[in-house]
Assembly symmetry: C2
Homo-oligomer: 378 residues x 2
Amino acid sequence: MSTIGVLGGGQLARMLALAGAPLGVRFLIVDNVADACAGQVAPLLVADWRDFAALERFAAQIDVATFDFENVPADTAHWLTEHTRVSPNPRALALAQDRLAEKSMFRELGLETPAFATVDSREDLVRAAATIGFPAVLKTRRLGYDGKGQFRLRSADDIDAAWRALGGAPSILEAWVAFEREVSVVAVRGRDGAFATYPLVQNWHSDGILSASLAPAPDAAGLAELATHHARRIAEHLDYVGVFALELFVRDGKLLGNEMAPRVHNSGHWTIEGAPCSQFENHVRAVLGLPLGDTAALGVSVMLNWIGQLPDAGPVLREPRGHWHDYGKSPRAGRKVGHATLCAGNAADLGEALARVARALGREAQAAPVLAALHGAR
Amino acid sequence: MSTIGVLGGGQLARMLALAGAPLGVRFLIVDNVADACAGQVAPLLVADWRDFAALERFAAQIDVATFDFENVPADTAHWLTEHTRVSPNPRALALAQDRLAEKSMFRELGLETPAFATVDSREDLVRAAATIGFPAVLKTRRLGYDGKGQFRLRSADDIDAAWRALGGAPSILEAWVAFEREVSVVAVRGRDGAFATYPLVQNWHSDGILSASLAPAPDAAGLAELATHHARRIAEHLDYVGVFALELFVRDGKLLGNEMAPRVHNSGHWTIEGAPCSQFENHVRAVLGLPLGDTAALGVSVMLNWIGQLPDAGPVLREPRGHWHDYGKSPRAGRKVGHATLCAGNAADLGEALARVARALGREAQAAPVLAALHGAR
């Protein structure tokens, strides 16, 4: 019987624990808040990331440590490698924590990115803006997620506001990409180097937070192959073990690297019902050295994120292939509190189910771009 | 946020908790052993079934009580109804605890059964044997499961041994049925009376314990309809809320009622991956008054039970549609410690996957009757 330790006790840790339990895997979650929602389904150790006495107890009880989020302090991750197996390795984690290092790696490995420049001072920002032009986005190098730590600049008039908004933290200025669409590929690499990707997913964001995902992304055969190629290069370069996601922009039919998440990813939640082996089970399998599971799509799936608070579950539960996920969190503005996945055998049936659910919940705006993509795919 | 209390903390409670968690449902398990395997995934209250002080604490924390097994004392179930909602109702539970009451109800509702007679004394047994003939099976009226509390009589010479083996407990003598096959139907009824059945399943037993299930049962269209009819009559008669299973023999192409299980059932484990909404999720939905989920089969599935100890998981994990379930129990002869489910789009593909797994695990004997049934179905 193996025990996986998870740093961070949010919904990703929760879904990892639920996916690992059927395999007979035990979990131990460590989080700095006592009501971390993963603690509802697995033992929870409440400790600060730098409480090394607690981490020593944690390490002694587990076979491998992994992460529910990427912003675990680098020294904590390093300390862990001296006390237990850690997957993914701290180098991959550190790289994904730093937008500059991440984008530099993308380019080094042949994946184009939007134009960007390092910004360590107000003068850097002025210089970078002159090179990159407007619109542009100033992003902190570290600790950004779900649109946090970002400021969009429309003109030179926004430079002061942007610099103040990010508090002068080390940042990058990035060209604003007028993309045709956003896609992501969720990949998994085993201890033995086995590699697999789920079908390419199309994503829609709202206020910087993922709003909906459609899998497989329609009309994306060539892009999917290319995305898999890039994901494989990154995985091998980092000697990565586990699941990660690579977020990409599509512009002029070409892929641009946006960011990687060194963990299971929101754009892969559809795999719980839409693939034979979910991203969560595959992460568990990978970090334990078990054979990877099948990543094919079973039909088509759409995932709708619930942000702030949950809508009524009824309309989703009444759909024959509707699946409800309540993370057991209390409501809070901007917080991911749950999601729903709808599955179907084809795009037309999925569109009908999605339209019914959206109408019943008054979520037409959230569903509209997905419906348009599904309609184009018919 | 609702909390379901489960009496009994075995693998059924464990799988209920895992199925309910995505719906945001919390669980509280009560069992009289501290290492009950459901306690690995949900809070566990260790208490005797007649510790009413503990049950009072239990009832105060839950919205509805349900059962992982049917042998909860009737007075405990009744006591609970005065302190919380209980589903299924104690009448259904009591009926399923008593083979005589159960079989009498089957007949009353138009479902034929094997010939049987009540046996409360050695004299009764002699008389019953004269009426029913041989072979026959003596079964205790209460507390029988997985072949326990049964004795097969080949001739009048076995009467004394049978009577001793069952310790003189109130029993029934039942004609031994030379059945063509064993099938079961897993049904669910909601609080509002909504009713659904999963496709008919064909089952194979070994030493009285379920060994394998195949869903849907091949060539069984007429039988499935009839089984659903009987399940519905029983559900309505008992005002049943939740999932139950009806086990049936097929003889001369006709159905005979064997027994009902007032709970999720081993022959429904395939629904976790083989149906849009599993029997576990549907039980959760039913007892909470939520809409029932879709019970259609997604392709074909076979479930293999692991009894005593787990085989190597590798061959199952390497199958694209192979799913592994380790209940987190320690090995023990005759104990259900896990199961595997293989899914496929058609009988031929399922047969190939099953043959590969059986060969790799040296489980050819367990798989052989399933393979024969699949072969006949092509």
